[in-house]
Structures are given as structure tokens and as C-alpha cells.
């Protein structure tokens, strides 16, 4: 488990370091673009650390790739449209949970959903810890 955390941190730092190339002068990007990049990097490092074995990590990677591609006019071929399986609207909160977990709407089995949720939460928690640690060490550097 320790290795997983270290891997996640490494992914995140690698992505962050793209913002500040240490050799070349930095290209000016707006703060909002920078924030978006950091946010994407956070979820990306979670997904990369988890690997392709999880529904949520695959969904996250797909989401990132989709956003990166330039929005073009696409002619939607109806034949290739993925048919979502129809199911009775579930009682209780499982519908909402499926919306919150990336790729959750494709998980039909409730036991699987709980597994994915548990995994996702662990990686999310780790990501928060990593980012808090970075924020505190950067803050110290500035005021130190």
C-alpha cells in the first residue's frame, strides 16, 4: 500500500513539473488554465496509480483523453452509439453513488459498485494527503 501511495505521488509530481520546466523559460499560461491542469493532473495520477484494472480509473483516463482532444464537429453515427442497458430505477442512494463514481453508471452489480467505491475513495484520500503535503511544504518555503 505504501508503494501505491509513493507511485501516486510520483505521478502527480511528474505531471506538476510540466508546469515549471526547469531548463526552458516558462510559457505564460493563465492562472485558471494552470488550476485546470493541476486538477486534471490530480485525477490522472489517481487513475495511473490504480491502473486499468478498475472501472473508475479507466473512466477517468477516458475523460481526460476526451477533454484533451480538440472539440470538433462530429457526425454521430447512430449505429455505433453504445446502448446503455435499461434497468429499473434503483431505490435508495445507489443511483446517486453511480453518478459520483467515474464510470459508475456502467456498473450493474452492486457488490462491484461497493468495491469500486472503496477503491476510489482510498485513492481520493491519498490524493488529498499528497496535495496537502505539497501545499504545506510550498507555503513553508515561501514564508521561511
Amino acid at each position: 500500500m505504501q508503494d501505491m501511495n509513493a507511485m501516486q505521488a510520483t505521478h502527480f509530481l511528474r505531471l506538476l513539473s510540466r508546469l515549471k520546466p526547469l531548463m526552458a523559460p516558462t510559457l505564460p499560461i493563465s492562472t485558471s488554465q494552470q488550476t485546470k491542469f493541476i486538477l486534471k493532473s490530480a485525477y490522472a495520477s489517481m487513475a495511473y496509480a490504480a491502473g486499468p484494472r478498475r472501472v473508475w480509473s479507466r473512466a477517468l483516463v477516458r475523460r481526460i483523453r476526451r477533454n484533451r482532444r480538440r472539440p470538433t464537429m462530429r457526425i454521430i453515427n447512430k449505429r455505433r452509439h453504445v446502448v446503455r442497458p435499461r434497468r429499473r430505477p434503483a431505490e435508495g442512494g445507489s443511483e446517486e453513488l453511480r453518478k459520483v463514481i467515474p464510470g459508475g453508471d456502467t456498473i450493474l452489480n452492486g457488490a462491484r459498485l461497493v468495491e469500486e467505491t472503496s477503491d476510489y475513495v482510498q485513492f481520493l484520500r491519498t490524493q488529498v494527503i499528497i496535495m496537502k503535503a505539497l501545499v504545506s511544504s510550498f507555503s513553508k518555503g515561501q514564508h521561511g
Binding site: P21, E96, A111, V114
Partner: protein, 109 residues
């Protein structure tokens, strides 16, 4: 029962919520979802929540537990959002030779 039990009472049959949650049982397999499996899923969900959020969930229904889990995940998303903002602020005042850049560099090597 040797499995970990949550100290609250469960209906003897899995509730309809859980039947929905567990999905359609495959007709071909003869196995029913056991009460143990239901308990296990519930305890797993409960263990995800940090202490502060567990409060009265012992007595609450499964749907309450699911709602709490959703709330928790959403709050984690907000935290990541907020931390991204702060990191972005800190990094924009960071120049390439500063201490912060060195931190990143050293952590990566």
C-alpha cells in the same frame, strides 16, 4: 456467524434496496445473495466513512449509508478542487530556481 457484524438489526430477508443494489441475480446460478454477503457490503461501505461521519449510521437504513457515502465523496472532490486552487496560487509565485522547484526536482530523482 464468524463474519464481522455491525451492531444493528437487519431484516431477515435482504431489503428491496439491496436487491436492487446487488443487481439482478443470474437465473442460471442457483445461489441466492446471502445475508452474510449483504452484511459484508454494508460494513465495507461503513468502514469507508471517516469516524466523524459515521455517527448514527448504525441505526440508519442502507439508503442513508449510501447517501452519506455520496456526500463524503463529493466533499473529497471539493477538497481536491480547493487544493488545486491553492497549489496553483503557490506555484505561480514560484520561479524556476526557487526552493519549491528544487523540492519537486529532488522528490522526483
Amino acid at each position: 456467524m464468524t463474519s464481522v457484524t455491525i451492531p444493528c438489526s437487519f431484516p431477515t430477508r435482504p431489503s428491496t434496496l439491496f436487491t436492487c443494489l446487488l443487481g439482478k441475480r443470474r437465473r442460471s446460478s442457483g445461489s441466492r445473495i446471502t445475508e452474510d454477503e449483504v452484511n459484508e457490503l454494508i460494513s465495507k461501505l461503513q468502514s469507508l466513512l471517516p469516524e466523524a461521519r459515521r455517527h448514527n449510521l448504525c441505526r440508519a437504513s442502507t439508503s442513508k449509508l449510501l447517501k452519506e457515502t455520496c456526500k463524503y465523496i463529493k466533499s473529497l472532490h471539493r477538497e481536491v478542487d480547493d487544493l488545486s486552487d491553492r497549489l496553483s496560487d503557490l506555484m505561480s509565485t514560484m520561479d524556476t530556481n526557487s526552493e519549491q522547484a528544487q523540492i519537486i526536482k529532488s522528490l522526483l530523482s
